[in-house]
Structures are given as structure tokens and as C-alpha cells.
């Protein structure tokens, strides 16, 4: 418990850093909203007044502190379209989650399984085949995969099985038909990276001395591989899965969402950056930072649960 507390405390500078960078980029140097609010031909007084309202006449520090206070109070106000930020988040985040989660899980699970197979039959044809496919998967751009899958599966030139784009989910079949192509695309692209990474983890672990010991005492190679080696490999696996969560939860869905026109958090954030919708940005950035700290803490705890060498003290 003390450990968790300390870990959380070390997260504070990180949150400050993330907010500082994002404040500087997205707010301070971000798009100037004055003219968008006033329309064409404003008077000089109007300009001054709006700039004052938006806080543009204050110093960097003052504005950053104001930004921080809002963050701490979790008071994000309304987005520039007038909708409360909270309800915007409540609407978009679940969409992103259910959109991304299947691909994310499939990518890692299949990645681990394929990597296990490749490492187990290391140097044989199964390994070579899997790794060749992985390199191909790694070499294709995500965007190309999305477009190709769309052509193949959604268009009249292809199989025409799923909706081309959009998000109109009322039932489970709807859901499955809308996520099918995005999930296939994410899984396909993730597989290349995940398989290669996990295979190298497994193979590295296979060369350890304790594996030789286990063999010297007659344990079967299957048992050594799936019990002894696998438990040691859990550490890097957990770290990798954990640290991809923040990327996936906020940013990873951006391309999919904007390509397929799905109203998720990635698309909302992207639009907020373009239009300088500050309340939304604040909310997303603070959520990201908190999520990151949370994931880091969770990662450390899991790490310590798996690896007895690191004590919780």
C-alpha cells in the first residue's frame, strides 16, 4: 500500500509534465480562437474583449496555472459547440473502447500464441513461415491495410460483406458488422509487431542457464517451455500490454475513427486540436496523463506479483 502511494506520488511530476507540454502545444501555441468567435470584421474593442475572455492577454504562467486549477477541479466546462465536455466524453469514450478492444486483445493474444509456436519450433519451417508473415505484416502501412480490407470486404468490387463506413449500432449483429473490418485491420498490423517482439522474448529466455538445468534433470522440453520459460516471459509481456493501453485508448483509434467516420474519442480529440476546442483538449490530456500514471503503477504491481526478485517494499 505504501508502495502504491509512493508510486502515485512519483506520478505527479509526470502529470505536470504532460499537462505542461500539452498546454504549451495545444493552448498557448495552438490556434487563435479570437476570429472564429467574432466572425469577420470585428472592432478593435471587441478583439480586446474576446482576447481577455479567452485569457490571451495573460502571461504563460498565469494561463498555465489557471489551466491546472481547472484540471484539479475536474471542471472542464462546455466544449466550443456548447455541449458539456463530460457528456461528450461519456458519449465518445465507450465507442472507442468497444471499437478498439477486440483488435487490441486479438493482436496480443494471437501474437503471443504465434510467437510461442515460432519459438517452440525455432529454426523449422513453421517458425520461418510465421516470421516471414510477421515481417510482411510489419511492412504494410496501417492505412493501406485499412483501405485494402475495405475494398476487399466492403465494396462491390470485393465481397461486400460489411458496411463501408459509419457507426449505427443498435444490436450485437450491428456491432459485429461495424467493428469487423477495423478489428481485422488492427489485428493484422499488430500481429507483425507483437509476434516478432514476443518471439524474441521467448527465444532469449530459452537460452538461459536454468533451462539447461531443467533439461539436465530430465524435465520434458514441452513442460520447460510452457511452464518455466513462459512464467519468466510474463514480465515483458505484461509491460508491453500495459504500456500500449494509453496509446490505444486515446490515440490508437484516431486513424480508424476518422477513416470509417466513427464518433470516438480519437476523432473528437483530433477535431478539437484542429478547431482549438480547449475544454475538450484539457479533459483528454488530463485523462491521458492520469491513465498513464495509473497504468505505470498497475504495471509495477503486476511486475512484482510475477517476479519475486522485486519486492513490494
Amino acid at each position: 500500500m505504501q508502495y502504491v502511494l509512493r508510486k502515485m506520488l512519483t506520478g505527479i511530476p509526470l502529470i505536470l509534465g504532460v499537462t505542461l507540454v500539452s498546454f504549451a502545444l495545444m493552448v498557448y501555441f495552438g490556434p487563435d480562437m479570437t476570429y472564429q468567435l467574432l466572425g469577420k470584421n470585428p472592432t478593435a474593442e471587441q478583439i480586446i474583449e474576446v482576447r481577455h475572455q479567452l485569457g490571451y492577454d495573460q502571461s504563460f504562467i498565469q494561463r498555465y496555472l489557471a489551466y491546472l486549477t481547472e484540471l484539479i477541479r475536474l471542471d472542464f466546462g462546455n466544449s466550443s459547440s456548447g455541449e458539456p465536455v463530460r457528456s461528450l466524453l461519456a458519449k465518445t469514450i465507450p465507442v472507442s473502447l468497444i471499437l478498439i478492444l477486440p483488435g487490441f486483445l486479438l493482436g496480443h493474444i494471437l501474437g503471443v500464441l504465434l510467437a510461442l509456436a515460432a519459438a517452440f519450433w525455432r529454426g523449422r519451417w513453421a517458425d520461418k513461415l510465421i516470421m516471414a508473415i510477421a515481417v510482411i505484416g510489419m511492412s504494410v502501412s496501417f492505412l493501406i491495410v485499412i483501405i485494402a480490407f475495405q475494398i476487399l470486404l466492403c465494396s462491390s468490387d470485393g465481397l461486400n460483406l460489411f458496411p463501408v463506413r459509419g457507426w449505427n449500432v443498435q444490436s450485437l449483429p450491428d456491432y459485429l458488422s461495424y467493428i469487423a473490418v477495423p478489428t481485422l485491420a488492427t489485428t493484422f498490423v499488430a500481429l507483425g509487431y507483437e509476434t516478432r517482439f514476443y518471439r524474441s522474448v521467448f527465444v532469449e529466455e530459452m537460452t538461459r542457464d536454468y533451462v539447461r538445468t531443467a533439461r539436465a534433470f530430465g524435465l520434458s522440453s514441452r513442460r520447460i517451455f510452457f511452464r518455466s520459460i513462459f512464467k519468466n516471459c510474463l514480465i515483458p509481456i505484461i509491460t508491453r500490454v500495459m504500456f500500449s493501453i494509453p496509446q490505444v485508448a486515446i490515440g490508437g483509434s484516431l486513424l480508424i475513427e476518422s477513416y470509417f467516420g466513427i464518433p470516438g474519442i480519437g476523432k473528437a480529440t483530433y477535431e478539437a486540436i484542429i478547431t482549438g476546442d480547449q475544454p475538450v483538449l484539457k479533459a483528454v490530456v488530463s485523462l491521458t496523463a492520469i491513465l498513464f500514471v495509473f497504468v505505470m503503477t498497475l504495471n509495477d504491481i503486476l511486475y512484482r506479483a510475477v517476479d519475486p526478485r522485486v519486492s513490494l517494499k
Partner: protein, 324 residues
């Protein structure tokens, strides 16, 4: 031996902090080296033996100022090295050099042997570049390598040859004092004797004072005039080599000598200590050796013995209650 010793170590200590608590405050100190004193005269060799974790390497690193001592002094030719700043220390670096343990790790793999041996000369701007080149050739010849070796990389050499290169580098600046930390323990037996002979030769021909650190008593005795024995950060006995090996006084020294496997002796004659070396984090009370000592007395559990000069039984000192 009335002249002032070249090296005088006085009360040298190194405590490593142990962190704990919510804010990782320092809660205790690990006494890696605890109040060690000795002297080395010009041209003489002190051998330092002890098992892993006894602090002998930390001690050597403090003499080289690769690590800052927590307390104590290192006097070199009368000057306290621990008080010098980086620039002042640079002048002394020429006079104190080091030979390291790992023949594979002590040479930079991406630099040629010539560059490595020359580097000290470059840093201290000794002579013209031509002089330096000539010096490199001389040094390589002294340690038994050809001049062509200068153009090759460390991975082309065997462990013994690499150790010779390390010695050549240490000799480049004509030091008066050399700290050698386990210089032969990573070498094979037949090569080990070659390198040991080289060390003896440089000591004899160049009059270099030497601190020779090793876990191997037999190796240490071959090069040393005096031998110091360390246990858990403290010096427990120090005496002339012949005396300490034939008539050890501290029970730990005795056990250590007896534990060295010898050709021409069967197992049963040796003293086998019980238990293991305790952790330096939680050293035993009183004499640190008392839980394993075959001759432990009541006083050993509570009072820590200090290093005292032997009276009539020869020169040297011992820290043991058996010798009041």
C-alpha cells in the same frame, strides 16, 4: 624502513546508504569498508585477501578515488588524496595507476591496443606524438607483445595477452604505486603464472609499490611482502607474508589458509568453517567473525576487537580477543 611510507591509509571507511520508508530516506548505512588503516612503503607490496563482499575491492577503488570515502584519509607521499579536487587529483593520477580484473571488460573493444596504451600519455600530454608512439612500443615490448599488436583490437588477443595490455597501459605514466584488483583471477592456470611473473618483474625492475587485491591466498603470497586479511569490511590481521602464512594468529586467517585446496594433501586435515559470511547490512555484534569462529569466547559476542600490534610474537597486527 624508517622513511615515510609512500601510501598511508588512515581510518578509511565507506558506508553505502540503505533507503527505506515512503520517501526513501536513508535508514541505515552498509559498512562496506569500516575504519581500515595500513601503510605501504615505496617499492613494497601489500597483498589484501578476503572473500567476496569483504570490501577489498571498494578499498582499492577508494585509493584510486574511483569512489569517494565516507571517512578517513589516503596519504600519498604526504598529500591527502581525499581532499584534492578533480584538477589537483589529475597530477596524482600519473603516479597512481590501476590494473583490473576482467581482461575482457577492461579494454574498450572499439579502440586499438595502441590507442588504449597511448591514452594516458595523450591525456597527460607527455612528450611529442612521436615520443608517445615510441613509448607505446617500449611498453608493449616490456609486457612481451610485439609492436604490431598496437594496430590490432582487443578481441584478437587471449585473456592473458589482454591483461598484459592492461598492465602496459598502467605503466605508461611511470607510476610509483599500482593498485591491482584481482589481476589474475580470470586467467587460466598456465597463463596466470606468466602474468604473475610479469607483475613481480615490474615491481622488482621499476620499484613500483603495489596493492595487490585477491581472494586467492596462494597468488597473493607469491607477490606480497605483507598480507592483510579482511572480513566484513574490517582488517582482521596484517603481517609479513611469511609470518602470516606459517603462523596465522586470527582464527579467520587460519581457516582461510586451511580452506585453500592444496596438492599433496587430503581433505580431512582442513578446518571447515560453519555457516556463511553474514550480510554486511546486518553485521553480527562484537567481533563480526564470532558466529563462525571455532574459538569463540563470551567477550567476542559483545566487544569488537581492535587491531593491535603483536608483541613479541613477531611484527604485524591482529584484531582478536585471543591476543589481549
Amino acid at each position: 624502513m624508517n622513511a615515510e611510507p609512500l601510501v598511508q591509509v588512515r581510518g578509511l571507511s565507506k558506508y553505502f546508504p540503505i533507503h527505506g520508508g515512503l520517501f526513501r530516506r536513508v535508514v541505515a548505512g552498509l559498512k562496506a569498508v569500516d575504519d581500515v588503516s595500513f601503510v605501504i612503503h615505496a617499492g613494497r607490496t601489500l597483498g589484501l585477501v578476503g572473500e567476496s563482499g569483504c570490501g577489498k575491492s571498494t578499498l582499492g577503488r577508494m585509493l584510486l578515488r574511483l569512489q569517494e570515502p565516507t571517512a578517513g584519509q589516503v596519504l600519498f607521499a604526504g598529500e591527502d588524496l581525499t581532499r584534492l579536487d578533480r584538477r589537483q587529483m589529475l597530477a596524482y593520477r600519473q603516479r597512481i595507476q590501476a590494473v583490473f580484473q576482467d581482461p575482457y571488460g577492461s579494454l574498450s573493444p572499439r579502440r586499438t591496443v595502441g590507442q588504449t596504451v597511448r591514452e594516458p600519455l595523450d591525456v597527460h600530454r607527455v612528450g611529442t606524438p612521436g615520443d608517445r608512439q615510441q613509448r607505446v612500443d617500449e611498453l608493449l615490448a616490456f609486457v612481451g607483445l610485439s609492436a604490431q599488436a598496437a594496430h590490432r583490437y582487443p578481441h584478437e588477443f587471449s585473456g592473458g595477452q589482454r591483461q598484459r595490455i592492461g598492465i602496459a597501459r598502467a605503466l605508461a605514466l611511470n607510476p610509483q604505486f599500482l593498485v591491482a584488483d584481482e589481476p589474475v583471477s580470470a586467467l587460466d592456470v598456465s597463463v596466470q603464472s606468466q602474468v604473475l611473473n610479469l607483475i613481480v618483474r615490474l615491481q622488482r625492475e621499476r620499484g613500483i609499490a603495489l596493492l595487490f587485491i585477491s581472494h586467492d591466498l596462494a597468488v597473493v603470497q607469491h607477490v606480497s611482502d605483507d598480507i592483510g586479511v579482511m572480513y566484513l569490511g574490517r582488517l582482521v590481521e596484517i603481517a609479513p607474508a611469511g609470518q602470516i602464512l606459517t603462523a596465522p594468529r586470527h582464527p579467520y586467517t587460519e581457516a582461510l589458509i586451511s580452506a585453500v585446496p592444496q596438492i599433496g594433501r587430503r581433505m580431512h586435515s582442513r578446518i571447515v568453517l560453519g555457516g556463511e559470511v553474514p550480510s554486511a547490512r546486518t553485521p553480527p555484534s562484537g567481533c563480526a567473525f564470532h558466529p563462525r569462529c571455532p574459538r569463540v569466547m563470551a567477550v567476542c559476542r559483545s566487544v569488537r576487537p581492535v587491531l593491535k600490534k603483536n608483541g613479541d610474537e613477531g611484527s604485524g597486527s591482529v584484531a582478536c580477543h585471543l591476543y589481549p
